[in-house]
């Protein structure tokens, strides 16, 4: 039983935030959290209240473990929380989306990139980009894809498969031949695959890689001379991974969701100022937290006290954010946003990203899910 479901106007609005504070994704969790706090500050003008109403924000640790996340979510929902946000793991985000639908609450997922989250149900929104947008960004690097051969070099897991599917849809749809070289997730030796890439003689190699093995993978590509043979593109990860590309850094074209300083907007400046005041640095997933905060404030401000009202307030909403103008597409809740192209340059002992180009939000907008 309990008194879940009723919220009195005037009472604080309860918001549950679930993200990794420990576990393998703790670093993403930290960036998201810092971004969220900056965003909340920005969207509420430093008051932490919306139209005089307190936002009562409760944080939970999902430990990168879906079971823990679901348990915590149920706990929150049971306590009457109607807004849930966060998580960087797609598996967890999908499980939470399921909870949101079953219990009719608002859920805004975190940095989790899976395309499947978009349009999964009416109650689920996202605050970050999705795989499709990454891929489409890369597609813009090679000019007209018609007749070109693209090889996707990825890990054989949901992330890699998703990227391959994305490339097939985006660039394949535009006339490119797309092949995948998928490597078992636990493989540690990439030298032969590097050979295979050269053997395939493509016009572009799209690398979708996450996790610790990326250093060894880049070393292998560089040692076997892949960069001399083919242009290589991949997504630029968070600050901690800048060292992973090693000598290959300067040879890779990076598509990028965000890095500190990429956007040059006023909102970004505000965010960075706030982050630095809090002792944090802007990073890949700072905007995701920031946007989530903006969306929550919007939902509370315009949506009244019903979940349906909040959904309505968010659907089709366009606003200025860190990366520029962002639209929450009404049909499937995709977040239409600009993307970046970047390169790494040597800065003393380490590497730093430099903006090459900003790709227009519409250019990389995913097709409406389910259509």
């Amino acid at each position: 039983g309990g008194d879940a479901g009723s919220t009195d106007p005037g009472e604080p609005v309860k918001v549950a935030m679930l993200t990794s504070q420990t576990g393998p994704l703790a670093a993403y969790g930290a960036a998201y959290t810092a971004g969220f706090e900056a965003g909340l500050d920005y969207a509420t003008d430093g008051t932490g209240t919306v139209d005089g109403r307190e936002l009562d924000i409760e944080w939970g640790d999902d430990q990168g473990n879906p079971d823990t996340a679901v348990s915590k979510a149920k706990d929150f929902i049971g306590q009457g929380y109607q807004i849930l946000a966060g998580t960087a793991a797609s598996g967890i985000a999908l499980a939470l989306a399921e909870q949101a639908e079953q219990n009719k609450i608002l859920y805004i997922s975190g940095p989790a990139a899976a395309d499947a989250i978009t349009g999964v149900n009416d109650y689920t929104f996202r605050s970050g980009r999705q795989t499709y947008q990454d891929v489409a960004t890369a597609g813009t690097f090679i000019g007209d894809p018609e007749g070109k051969k693209v090889v996707v070099f990825a890990q054989d897991n949901a992330f890699g498969q998703g990227n391959l599917a994305g490339v097939q849809a985006v660039l394949g749809g535009q006339g490119a031949t797309v092949e995948g070289v998928l490597v078992a997730e636990d493989a540690t030796e990439f030298t032969p695959f590097a050979q295979q890439l050269i053997g395939a003689a493509p016009d572009l190699v799209f690398v979708a890689w996450a996790g610790a093995s990326s250093g060894a993978m880049w070393t292998a590509l560089s040692q076997q001379g892949v960069f001399e043979a083919v242009p290589v593109v991949t997504g630029l990860g968070d600050v901690a991974t800048y060292g992973a590309y090693g000598d290959a850094s300067s040879d890779i074209s990076f598509l990028n969701h965000y890095f500190g300083g990429a956007a040059g907007t006023d909102v970004e400046a505000a965010m960075i100022e706030h982050l630095e005041a809090a002792g944090a640095e802007p990073d890949l997933f700072s905007p995701d937290g920031f946007v989530a905060a903006q969306m929550i404030v919007q939902a509370v401000r315009e949506g009244g006290d019903t979940v349906d009202g909040m959904i309505e307030a968010l659907e089709g909403w366009t606003f200025d954010s860190v990366k520029g103008e962002i639209t929450v597409r009404a049909e499937d809740h995709a977040v239409i946003q600009p993307m970046f192209q970047a390169k790494l340059v040597k800065a003393g002992d380490s590497w730093a990203p430099e903006l090459v180009d900003t790709i227009d939000a519409e250019t990389v907008a995913p097709p409406v899910a389910g259509e």
């Binding site: 420990t22 576990g23 393998p24 994704l25 703790a26 670093a27 054989d156 998928l182 490597v183 078992a184 636990d186 493989a187 540690t188 030796e189 030298t191 032969p192 695959f193 050979q195 295979q196 610790a212 093995s213 250093g215 060894a216 070393t219 292998a220 040692q223 076997q224 001379g225 901690a240 991974t241 060292g243 992973a244 090693g246 000598d247």
Partner: protein, 291 residues
């Protein structure tokens, strides 16, 4: 052709890495009957401390690497000896409990490493030569594989000599079977046990430093990823047989390479299937002694 050669030689390199981890595991299991789940942690802590010291002395040079290796070996030996002294010794002849204690230790230490060094991998520098390749029959072989193979051979030879030339092997094999009878022959069996742990730990320590060269990073999970393969090769090779572990390391790694490349990335699957198949046909592994 050059792909085949590449697969075989990189397989050998990977096998060498497996063996460096498995050698200590096999020594400890074969002689003492302790299934040491904390072996991965010995490796990880050695890699971290080796890196911390090495990069301060001279980052990315041979000199720095040598320092790292020495520190890694020392740390591995000390941590392992302490583990034996503080935990394993109290549970002698209770092999299940010994294994359990090491499970607890690995849980706790991995968490601790995460707390200290964070969850992200920390990328490391290595001497330039190790990052380059040497061409053999048209295949560009990364040089660090040669280093791995050389070290694995050294460790294999060293441990075999230790077992052949000293009484320790004998003492420990007897001690595992009947500890009190060994003491009743006037032998201090505890010292031998600690020594074996230390040697196993030292091998893991060296393995840790070399693993960080191979992967190009150190992380709290460095050991756990390697440990499972080390277990597999130890078991396939035959528990307690060092040469068996060496042969199995190579077989498993090469098999894994080929399956990953030609059979759609099924390396892991093939390896576990091979494990089950070998054990069902030869329950004691390839070179296991008759129990």
């Amino acid at each position: 052709m050059s792909t085949l050669l590449l697969l075989v030689i990189t397989g050998l390199g990977l096998g060498a890495l497996y063996f460096l981890v498995a050698s200590g595991l096999s020594l400890i299991y074969g002689l003492m009957g302790v299934l040491n789940f904390a072996h991965g942690s010995f490796l990880t802590i050695s890699a971290f401390l080796g890196w911390e010291v090495g990069r301060r002395v001279s980052d990315g040079t041979w000199w720095g690497l040598a320092i790292s290796a020495l520190v890694g070996i020392a740390v591995g030996a000390i941590v392992a000896a302490l583990t034996e002294y503080l935990l394993i010794r109290r549970l002698y002849e209770r092999h299940i409990e010994q294994a359990l204690v090491t499970v607890g230790l690995s849980l706790a230490t991995v968490a601790l490493f995460e707390g200290i060094w964070g969850t992200d991998p920390i990328y490391t520098e290595k001497p330039d030569w190790l990052g380059q390749t040497t061409e053999i029959l048209g295949a560009k072989i990364p040089n660090d594989r040669f280093l791995l193979i050389a070290c694995a051979l050294l460790v294999l030879g060293g441990i075999v000599l230790f077992l052949r030339r000293t009484r320790y092997g004998l003492i420990i094999r007897a001690g595992v079977e009947n500890r009190s009878m060994v003491t009743a022959l006037g032998i201090d069996v505890r010292r031998s046990f600690t020594l074996v742990f230390a040697i196993g730990g030292a091998a893991a320590g060296l393995g840790g430093v070399l693993a960080s060269v191979y992967y190009g990073y150190v992380s709290a999970h460095l050991g756990s990823t390697l440990l499972i393969f080390a277990f597999i090769v130890t078991v396939i090779g035959g528990l307690g047989s060092l040469t068996g572990a060496a042969i199995a390391s190579v077989l498993v790694a090469v098999l894994q390479q080929f399956a990953n490349f030609y059979l759609g990335g099924t390396g892991d699957l093939v390896v576990v299937v091979a494990l089950a198949a070998v054990l069902l046909v030869r329950p004691r592994g390839l070179m296991g002694k008759v129990a």
